[in-house]
């Protein structure tokens, strides 16, 4: 279906479990310009859910591997391959060129960084997350009243409740469903078909029902990122997002607690 979105641009941060299916349908929809930011390389163990990569591209940067797959679908796509790690120092300049930002990352510090940057740039942030059999989807900073990530989660979670996909295992198709929904929400915003009501979609592969749509709060005047306080300059560059979220993630694998 032609979407009249050839002039639009989006950037996907993370070309893993969520980023692959999101990119796939954004590319298929013919979005004019797509940025892919990921500094990791493809590993064989990724292929169970990161469906744009392949045995041939093992070892290649994920952003490059994803771009190759998109071009197979549509050789006219303009794909920006960005293989640097996103950080408080480069986030503003990396994300500024695009209309919409997709959070397809796998850790709390980057989620706060992307939200703060989306607010500073005045762009919607289509955020997906998945773990084991569950997934969550929310569009932050949308329209005049949409909340940001900090409006919902002013304080970072405790380290001990934070799992990554490596630690907790994940069912591939759960990231597929959430990643597809991220592409859908992005297309709805680009085409003016989004109602802009703040909602959170909860998905549980084994739940009954499997999907639940939650009505969310509006933007909070007291939010340090998107609230009404005058001076927010420096909030991004001056934040150590890793420390804010409790320091580096313990390496469970090195401690022998999980299989690599």
């Amino acid at each position: 279906m032609a979407l009249g979105s050839q002039a639009a641009s989006v950037v996907v941060v993370g070309a893993g479990g969520l980023g692959c299916p999101a990119l796939q349908y954004l590319g298929a929809a013919g979005i004019g310009r797509i940025g892919v930011i990921d500094h990791d390389h493809v590993e064989l163990s990724n292929l169970g859910r990161q469906i744009l990569h392949s045995e041939e591209t093992v070892g290649m940067p994920k952003a490059e591997s994803a771009a190759q797959a998109l071009k197979r679908l549509n050789s006219h796509l303009v794909v920006d391959v960005i293989t640097v790690a996103i950080s408080a120092q480069n986030a503003m300049s990396l994300l500024e060129p695009y209309d919409i930002i997709l959070d397809c990352t796998d850790n709390a510090p980057t989620r706060y960084l992307l939200s703060d940057t989306a607010v500073a740039l005045g762009k919607p942030l289509v955020s997906g997350a998945a773990q084991k059999f569950e997934g969550q989807l929310c569009v932050y900073n949308l329209g005049d009243a949409g909340p940001c990530y900090r409006c919902l989660y002013p304080k970072p979670p405790a380290q001990d409740m934070v799992g990554t996909c490596e630690e907790t295992g994940i069912l591939g198709v759960v990231t597929g469903v959430i990643g597809n929904m991220q592409a859908l929400e992005t297309i709805r915003i680009l085409t003016g078909l989004h109602d802009k009501k703040p909602t959170l979609l909860l998905f549980s592969a084994l739940g009954s029902p499997q999907f639940r749509t939650i009505k969310l709060r509006s933007r909070k005047a007291t939010c340090p990122a998107c609230g009404t306080a005058d001076d927010k300059s420096g909030i991004i560059q001056d934040t150590d997002y890793v420390q804010f979220c409790g320091g580096p993630r313990p390496d469970w694998e090195k401690r022998g607690l999980v299989n690599g």
């Binding site: 997350a129 773990q131 919902l152 989660y153 979670p157 409740m161 996909c165 907790t168 969310l216 709060r217």
Partner: protein
Amino acid sequence: MITISVKVEFSGGLELLFSNQRSHTVTIPSTDPATSKPTNLQNLIFHLRDNLLKERVGLFVENDTVRPGILVLVNDTDWELEGEGDYVLKDGDEIVFISTLHGG
């Protein structure tokens, strides 16, 4: 004693603290004996902490409210829109506690 019954769900990993069971039916007095006021969401949180929680209380409650990263939903609505802990429970309400996910 008059009681009300609410449906309580845990997800996003929180269910691991509650016998690894996602769905619970909780019966609770309709009035808080300490204050004689109608039972509210704050009372329910303490009730869950004191009666249902099997381990690691600190992963659910901190400073007398749910821990950062936990979202509370009242009948599919963010509790912020319902008065947070002051929301007065009604018989048959569905209260969901979800831990925000970070994986991808």
